[in-house]
């Protein structure tokens, strides 16, 4: 119990000290001269509050009750004792009265009533004292075992209470944010119709004049600024999408031109029918075409075909995807020609025939996709057919045979006899360049796709974290004047959000160009614009310095000229005086 009493006394001391410091702080507030004292008081208050927060409030209340009851009990006991002593000393008439412990006491008649009252109170307080005492029997300390609340905030390892994941304003998409802000603005306009909104002002909104309460003007301005910035971002995204679409169209056109050129080249190659040496080539008369074993020709043509097959595969993939989508939905498109009788009008009820409502956008997109895929496949097939025809014209058939050689047997061939035709180097290079173009086309397309998915930028940003160079950083300096409330004090964890320690002079130096920038800024600026602005400011500074230097030199020049004039004048006057004096003396 003694330790409890000591702890309770410490708590009372802390509370009284806190009250004293609070009153002192309120006296000093608003006076920046005593800032060191304010800081000391604030830190002491912080320490006190941490110590106070360690006390268990429930136990404190119980102990408080117990000590209050004990105090009152002691007072009553003291009063009873004084009455008993007084009645012993008095010589007046006495009466025997039962004490609180049921013992007979001789009390002066005049004090009997008061004694009885006190006895009743003593009995009452004994009970009151007993109950909290029994509750405190098992308590050994008033301090709670848990860490104080303030320390818990600073501790990074302690998990805070996780709030349910409701979609906050920051997590909303751009369009949702715009909608929310528009609603907010509308609410401000509507509030003007309510009674008791005070003074009203007229504002321009979308070319219309609207009245709003004057007190909401600041909120409206902020909302409108946010709205405009969000709309800008929205339109920027749309433009990027349009650009990517146009890029894909351009690439498709490029592919068409490349395919056409390949076709032309193929027609341009003149492959002479080989002079067939006896016994080396086999002529199949029944099929009336020639087969060749010339490796160069076979390799060239097989390469061509594999290239075309690859292109075909890639392009048919989109058609297959579309087909699969339709099949998943249970739709099969039949290749049927429809013939209507001439002169008969067909009747249909549009409301009954409609399957599903399709928007104009999806309709046109669907049509475009089908047309695009169909056209490309047709083109590739056409070029392949053309190639086949040219080969057939020349009497060449390429068989899809797998060649197997016996193991351990060396194959012999005479290159001079197997030779078909000389192909010039320039023709070779031309064909190679065409294939490279096709290859590059797909490479470019891949990049465009990556751009449209916005993957490249993210990767680049991730790379930036490991680099010290800032050239990849994407940021905008906002054109904004910050307004803080005068009488507010903001809590900041300096340790966490600190970048570096710096002198005041250095801060002033950093602040100066930013202030100048802000003065000249008309909208938000990017990193490149910042560089440009800083360069301009530097040039401006240099020009000013030059001007200053010029004026200084001019001033100096003036001083020098006036000085030399003065010296010359004094010399002239002195010589005149000397000559005059000399003349007078001589005479």
């Amino acid at each position: 119990m003694n330790s409890l009493f000591a702890e309770y006394n410490r708590y009372v001391q802390l509370i009284s000290r806190k009250n004293m410091l609070d009153s002192r702080l309120s006296q000093l507030s608003g006076n920046s001269d005593n800032i060191t004292e304010i800081n000391e008081i604030a830190s002491e208050l912080g320490e006190i509050s941490t110590e106070v927060s360690r006390y268990n409030t429930v136990l404190l209340e119980k102990v408080n009750q117990y000590f209050n009851a004990n105090k009152e009990f002691n007072r009553i006991c003291g009063e009873l004792r004084t009455i008993e002593q007084l009645s012993k000393k008095s010589k007046g008439e006495k009466e025997s009265v039962l004490s609180a412990e049921n013992k007979k006491k001789e009390v002066d008649k005049e004090l009997v009533d008061e004694y009885r009252k006190l006895v009743e109170e003593k009995k009452k307080y004994r009970m009151m004292q007993l109950r909290p005492y029994q509750k405190l029997k098992e308590v050994t300390t008033l301090l709670s075992k848990t860490e104080p609340a303030i320390d818990r905030k600073n501790d990074e390892n302690v998990n805070d209470y996780v709030l349910p994941d409701l979609p906050s304003y920051d997590k909303l998409s751009n369009k949702e944010k715009i909608n929310e802000l528009e609603k907010y603005v509308q609410r401000i306009f509507d509030s003007a119709l309510l009674p008791g909104q005070g003074k009203k002002v007229i504002v321009n909104y979308n070319g219309e004049k609207k009245t709003i309460p004057e007190k909401y003007k600041g909120r409206l301005n902020e909302a409108l600024i946010q709205l405009s910035s969000l709309r800008k971002i929205d339109t920027k995204k749309d433009n990027e999408q349009e650009v990517s679409n146009s890029e894909t169209e351009e690439l498709n056109k490029k592919l068409d031109s490349v395919l056409d050129e390949i076709n032309k080249d193929l027609y341009g190659i003149k492959i002479k029918p080989p002079e067939v040496p006896k016994g080396k080539f086999r002529i199949n008369k029944s099929e009336s075409h020639v087969t060749t074993k010339n490796k160069r020709v076979v390799k060239k043509i097989s390469e061509l075909l594999t290239k075309f097959n690859n292109i075909d595969k890639r392009l048919t993939l989109s058609v297959l995807r579309l087909e699969r989508k339709l099949l998943d939905k249970g739709i099969t498109i039949k290749n049927k020609t429809i013939n209507f009788k001439k002169g008969i009008k067909q009747k249909y009820n549009s409301s009954k025939c409609s399957v599903r409502k399709v928007t104009n956008v999806t309709k046109s997109k669907f049509k475009r996709e089908i047309l695009l895929a169909g056209n490309l496949v047709r083109k590739v097939h056409l070029s392949a057919l053309k190639l086949e025809r040219t080969l057939l014209d020349k009497g060449i058939i390429i068989k899809n045979n797998t060649i197997k050689f016996k193991e351990g047997v060396k194959q012999k061939y005479t290159s001079s006899k197997c030779f078909v035709e000389n192909v010039t180097k320039s023709a070779k290079n031309r064909i190679a360049s065409k294939y490279n173009q096709v290859k590059n086309f797909f490479h470019d397309k891949k990049i465009v796709l990556e751009k449209s998915k916005n993957v490249g930028l993210q990767k680049a940003m991730e790379e930036v974290y490991g680099e010290s160079k800032g050239k990849h950083l994407d940021y905008r300096i906002v054109n904004k004047t910050v307004r803080f409330k005068n009488n507010m004090c903001y809590r900041v964890n300096e340790r966490k959000s600190k970048i570096c320690e710096i002198s005041r002079q250095a801060i002033d130096k950093i602040k100066e160009p930013f202030d100048r920038l802000k003065y000249n800024m008309k909208a938000d600026i990017t990193r490149e614009e910042l560089e440009r602005e800083i360069a301009l400011i530097k040039i401006e500074n240099a020009v000013k310095k030059q001007q200053l230097f010029k004026t200084k030199t001019k001033k100096m020049g003036g001083y020098v000229a006036s000085g030399t004039l003065a010296v010359l004048l004094t010399i002239i006057i002195a010589t005149i005086v000397f000559v005059l004096v000399g003349n007078i003396v001589n005479k």
Binding site: I35, T36, I38, N39, A42, S43, L45, G46, D170, G218, R219, N221, E222, L457, M461, V464, Y465, G470, L473, D474, Y475, R476, I477, V478, K480, T481, V482, R483, F484, K485, N486, M488, C489, Y490, R491, V492, N493, E494, R495, K496, S497, K498, I499, C500, E501, I502, S503, R504, I507, I510, K511, P513, F514, K518, R527, L530, E531, I534, A535, K538
Partner: protein, 87 residues
Amino acid sequence: MEEFTIINENNEFKKGKVISVFNISNSNREIVLFSSEDFDSENANLQIAYLNIDADGYNYISQIDDEKVLKEAMYIVKDMIEVINNG
């Protein structure tokens, strides 16, 4: 008014001065670069925090809890100062 009063984690009062406001591509929120200066000495710190707007249209600052955003913002401040120094 671009000056404000700060109370730090050690319950010390300091003076804050706004240097610049910027935003980054990873976060839609605005970030303020400011200095926190002692009232009675030459010591100062460069600091960053989120800049928010209250219902009355006044600004207030809050701590950046997202480590990634904090790191990127610090890189940006470094970059900005480099741009200012080197042009």
